[in-house]
Point group: D2
């Protein structure tokens, strides 16, 4: 079968190379998934750029496919079931733990950019029926992260305010989900050419962080000086100061990404003075993915796909992601 | 000013009679509200039928109007602000208590079926701008009850299942709110002529409890045998057995009304065996009303009005409610 | 190895008979536990009295022992580790579900009254070091039930009021745990000869339900008319009316046992009028057992053992439980 | 009556001067409290050092006294009731808000270092009967802060791990409360001469941050590498890096003080990578104070008083606080 691997001695998108491997042999409880689509996250660029890879690694965490075989002990799914592998195969449900997060697809273990994937039957969710493989392939990392931030820890109250950064895959999900749950949403985005699209998905307010570096002030204006109830920060250390400044007293700030890099430090006094709840959100559990798929099905929500690449063109998909000019997700289709 | 009162010696809708009284004199912290509309709840029939009234009582809890005067110490609102009085003037926020629920408009204290109402400024919410007085007048009891059951105690997870009984004011609110928050909703209603309307508001599934007395079985089918995550029961002792039977393991059952009467007893074993969360919901706090108005504004939701009566025709409004053939709320307009 | 079984054609304690069986053969992920002690719950009497047994069943859910062997694929424990099997082997963590509760030791599957038990390594907790096997054997059902009711669903606030019924194993646990967590505790018990012992464990208030059938009134007095914040009801349908009457507005009532039988019905109006939270508690998850063992270790709490029987005398242990004159737990020691 | 004021033009403890003023005249809903004791917090040093005082300000937030008079409209308390004023008179209950926190005793409004204090009857808690005025005077700021951090936002699970910094008033409270609620507690303290006292109050583990600047590593050792479940940080920007490092995956970090100063910035990556919950705790509501007093009464806990000063010696009390060599609280007794 065809598989992409990141080469141990190469750093960046060039590390990707196509190899031929034997199909995996199923162990106890495992099923074999014929992958049909995969999607990229910013995290996959970070992984590709890592310099400490000791062995080849199959990249990407997010994909969808069909069950084509199963070990005799695996009974949960049937052949031909359409499934989505969990980002963390061992984080089935409940609170996070170091142990549950140790194995992550396309990071500490091999990922989904491969024709066939062997995975334990407890680490898969059923695809919602209304989605294509390409759409379903966008969910495990970005979709679950947005869901987790909005609905799993002190869930947003319908009608309350939510702000988010950017118009990439994660923020587009957060916008779609928050609107479908009845919230009032502001999007902080430096690309005004994408605002119309954000508005068409329900964005109630838009701020340009390039022309307004202190964009928190605009969000305070938007909320009559009160501040935002639920601030989603996918930027990391460099945007968190503004996010803390934008939050209302007693508000929630979700630290859920590092699009602005991992360097930088933040003055914590607003956390104390405004009694904020600052929560780290690092993807989520399999149960969260299941709840997300149920939510998408009930509300007939389709993930926003920016562009599609063929399996053999995976390196181009990486390049497209690096340009960061997309709204929505970049997908690789295996057909 | 003109005011309706329930006569102490008369029981039922006949108890209503119109009197002339002086305008109230404002005390510390109070404002004067010129009422513009009021709405009826099943509870108002129960109050009218009570036989232990010791003095005349102004009926109805739910209304909306304009601030036309204020005590010098009252500073929270301005003249002409459009406002909605709280059902419980002393339950501003937080958990319920006997003390907070002691005073209730149109029950233990005088209500809103009057031209002018004196009320403490802490016991009022601002009207959402997109609503008429008639629409806003429907919120304090039925609207808040539906909101409380859905979003205040273990809030519904978007995408999860919700069931409700009937197509009256309370259930119509619950249907509108649950759909706007992304839930999957079943309505149990004996009046198939109203199903089209429920469907138009998003109902995903309908069951006729008259033709299917064991309607819980239909809800189990609807959920592939799993049971409903959030069961709203407005019927009381006579419907609760079916509601408990319809709930999934670990599910929530909201006991929020007594449309079927107060008599009857329930076998509690399903609570234990299915580890249910059964919660009594008796209207709610002022903060809940405020969150509700914010939710309605963001989602441009309009309460469903079944019929409107003039102030002097209030007795006819009671008769219309008794017939219980309405979808949505019965409103009295004061203009 | 020696094993007790409940005979399919015999009902009651007489159903117990001793057989010789082969040691179990370990399957993937399983370990072999040499049981060292087991304890009885009221539920075990109910199981013995069931008339619909289709095959012999090894009874009892609660035990403790040593790991003496493991399948090569089982790596979580070491030989000689002291462990406690979960009541529900498949309810590891998270919310309950029908699937997680399907298999229960000594009920739907074979239990622990056997010399050797094969169990999946994910369905075991480590014993706290300060406990004997006999003490540890009391935890999986009664200990976890008390823990679940007090600390897992809207955890009790330290300093708040808790009431419980009886002085059996479950209530004695609840008393110990609630006091160690800083609560104020009332015990409703018909056996005044056991009150001194309850007081020595910290009971702040005692009521005799035999001499005061409307014992809820005493609990209202105890709380200055306010009612109890957390009412634990292990009696079932016949005591629940009093439990609902004893609860404060907004209070919690845990339905956690059926010591008074499964028959009977309850007037649900107090649930509505006092906005109660009535929660079914049916044992709990493995994670709850782990948190419980941690709590016991930190607070050096020892379960209260009423009497000990030898393995071969298991039938006498059943008879002792039937008399229901015990404080604390009845234990069978295998040595 | 005698009153201390902070002089507008003087900065630091020298700003304190004693004046004679008229007794306050009671307004609607107010009672007059004869103060009997007050206590100091680090925050009072910060207030004294502020340079932007526009008018004289009566300092200190924490005190206790007797009700000696009441406005006719005030009915909640009786003459001679022993009471404790709330830190924030307008934060009665519920979530924080800018409005509720606007008025704070001894900060934005006059405080309790005065013989007579007029306060609205809704802004007082009853003293627990087992406490002296001096003991009760320690609760509103430090006591409530410790209570809030431990029990109000995702309450600590009994048996779980808690760490705290220092042996001052706030940390001594946190140690007492956490132990009475059944937790396992580590204290990070640079003063080994105070360790015996901390141990006598139940501290399970002690770390010296002076000899071990990377004290988080010791806390990781203490928890077998897992990290602490509930980290209380009273140090502020300079200690928060270590606090974040000490927390376990999914753990809680309470940002509740600025003993190390307000300057400094923190690398937020551990919040993301360990999915922490970082919560700002800035004192708390009146309801929290009431729950705290109930907790103290049930568990017969007495606040730890380090030293007592007479009313006229208030400046010496400030000097003692500045030396920061105390265990427990510094109190001013008015008798």
């Amino acid at each position: 079968m065809k598989t992409f691997q990141l080469h141990p001695q190469i750093v960046g998108a060039d590390a990707l190379h196509l190899v031929n491997k034997d199909k995996p042999v199923l162990r106890d409880g495992e099923v074999l998934v014929k992958m049909r689509a995969a999607s990229l996250n910013y995290r996959d660029l970070v992984v590709a750029r890592q310099t400490n890879r000791e062995q080849p690694r199959v990249p990407l965490s997010d994909g969808a496919g069909d069950i084509v075989d199963r070990h005799p002990s695996a009974t949960r799914f049937n052949i031909n079931d359409r499934v989505i592998p969990f980002f963390y195969p061992d984080w089935i449900e409940g609170s996070p733990s170091a142990k549950k997060q140790q194995r992550a697809l396309g990071g500490s273990i091999d990922g989904v950019l491969t024709e066939y994937l062997a995975v334990h039957e407890t680490a898969l969710a059923k695809m919602p029926e209304h989605l294509t493989y390409a759409e379903a392939a966008t969910l495990p990392c970005a979709g679950v992260t947005a869901w987790h931030a909005l609905f799993e820890r002190s869930p947003i109250v319908p009608g309350s305010t939510v702000s988010m950064l950017g118009t990439g895959g994660l923020s587009t999900f957060a916008l779609q989900f928050a609107k479908a749950a009845g919230a009032r949403v502001a999007v902080v985005s430096g690309s005004e050419e994408k605002w119309a699209e954000a508005r068409s998905r329900g964005a109630d307010y838009l701020v340009n962080y390039k022309t307004t570096p202190e964009w928190s002030k605009k969000l305070l204006d938007w909320t009559n000086g009160e501040g935002v109830q639920n601030v989603l920060d996918a930027g990391g250390p460099r945007t968190l100061d503004q996010s803390l400044a934008a939050a209302r007293v007693g508000g929630n700030v979700s630290v859920m990404g590092i699009l602005g890099g991992v360097e930088g430090a933040v003055g914590p006094m607003p956390i104390l003075l405004k009694q904020l709840n600052v929560r780290g959100i690092y993807v989520g559990s399999g149960e969260m993915l299941s709840r997300l798929t149920q939510f998408l099905a009930v509300n007939k929500i389709h993930p926003v796909i920016n562009s599609m690449f063929a399996f053999d063109d995976a390196p181009q998909a990486y390049l497209a992601l690096e340009k960061a000019q997309h709204v929505g997700k970049i997908v690789i289709s295996f057909d």
